[in-house]
Subunit: 143 residues, 2 copies
DNA sequence: CTGCTAATTGATAATCGTTTTCAGTTGGAC
DNA sequence: GTCCAACTGAAAACGATTATCAATTAGCAG
């Protein structure tokens, strides 16, 4: 289940962060979008309702939310990182190369592969990145 | 099998690119290193033997080699992309968070998962990214 | 070997995304 | 309401990457 705006604000408070209108606006924007958003795109969207927000505050808020695990930061796209609403369970992403839509998935099992690699390489494995890139059904129709 | 310097230069020629001393130096450096290298780090290494090379040429060469699939470009690290020698088969990477060492692996089978996701999401899946991050045996000893 | 030419190079400047700085503002505890 | 650490936005600084352009050169044709 994706985090709701309510849960995110509660979580912020729990960690002692203030709940400013700017932060609420950024949170609303990310939760409302199903897509990967760059910092610039978040700024653009937030600015519509909240024209006085600074780009710097968008960067700071994204960094904060990401650090608390409330949003997901992805890199596979191109140059700059992109963000999407998070899901508190361990999960990975299916990303549309057409429109940036993100679908979370769980239920994969990389443990056997991870064990094999640890054995063969001598690495102590701590983490993994798994993403599928494709074309969503909406974008398939736009031929 | 990782590409040798010989194979890379042959491949360049095949695509009609000139084989300049600068390109050879960049290729040698990447092939000689087992690690992920940033453009700046490649430049630093190449400069030792070839002090007149420009950083711009390093960027251009990395872009070219990456486009031809002769080196792998990774993003999972931090801010800027990193490069490592490529392997012509479909493969993924095991990356040491301590020293940047990269080990290629093959023999994974994501097809069942990929099929399930395609069915459930309606996506046409084209590609995937899979990386394991850990600590190599040498770095484990450096406690 | 010699010339030719398109490809390549490196210095410089421009650009892009991000971070730092800092003085003014404000959320929320009391 | 008062207070203060947390927060904000403007501006400047910054690091990485890309564009521009005149000079050089790899590799081919003669
Ligand atoms: Mn997610
Ligand atoms: Mn590789
Ligand atoms: Zn799409
Ligand atoms: Zn290591």
């Amino acid at each position: 289940m994706k985090l709701t705006e309510r849960k995110i604000t509660t979580e912020l408070r729990k960690h002692g962060y203030k709940l400013t209108p700017q932060r609420q606006a950024v949170i609303d924007t990310i939760v409302a979008s199903q897509d990967l958003l760059t910092p610039a795109r978040v700024y653009e969207k937030v600015s519509r309702e909240h024209p006085d927000i600074g780009l710097v505050t968008v960067y700071r808020t994204l960094e904060l939310l990401s650090r608390l695990g409330l949003i997901c930061e992805l890199h596979s796209g191109g140059t700059c990182p992109t963000y999407t609403a998070s899901n508190p369970e361990h999960h990975h992403h299916l990303i549309c190369s057409g429109c940036g839509k993100v679908v979370d998935f769980t239920g994969h099992n990389l443990a056997p592969l991870e064990n094999r690699l640890a054995r063969e390489s001598g690495f102590r494995i701590q983490n993994h990145v798994l993403e599928f890139i494709g074309v969503c059904s909406a974008c398939q129709e736009t031929k």
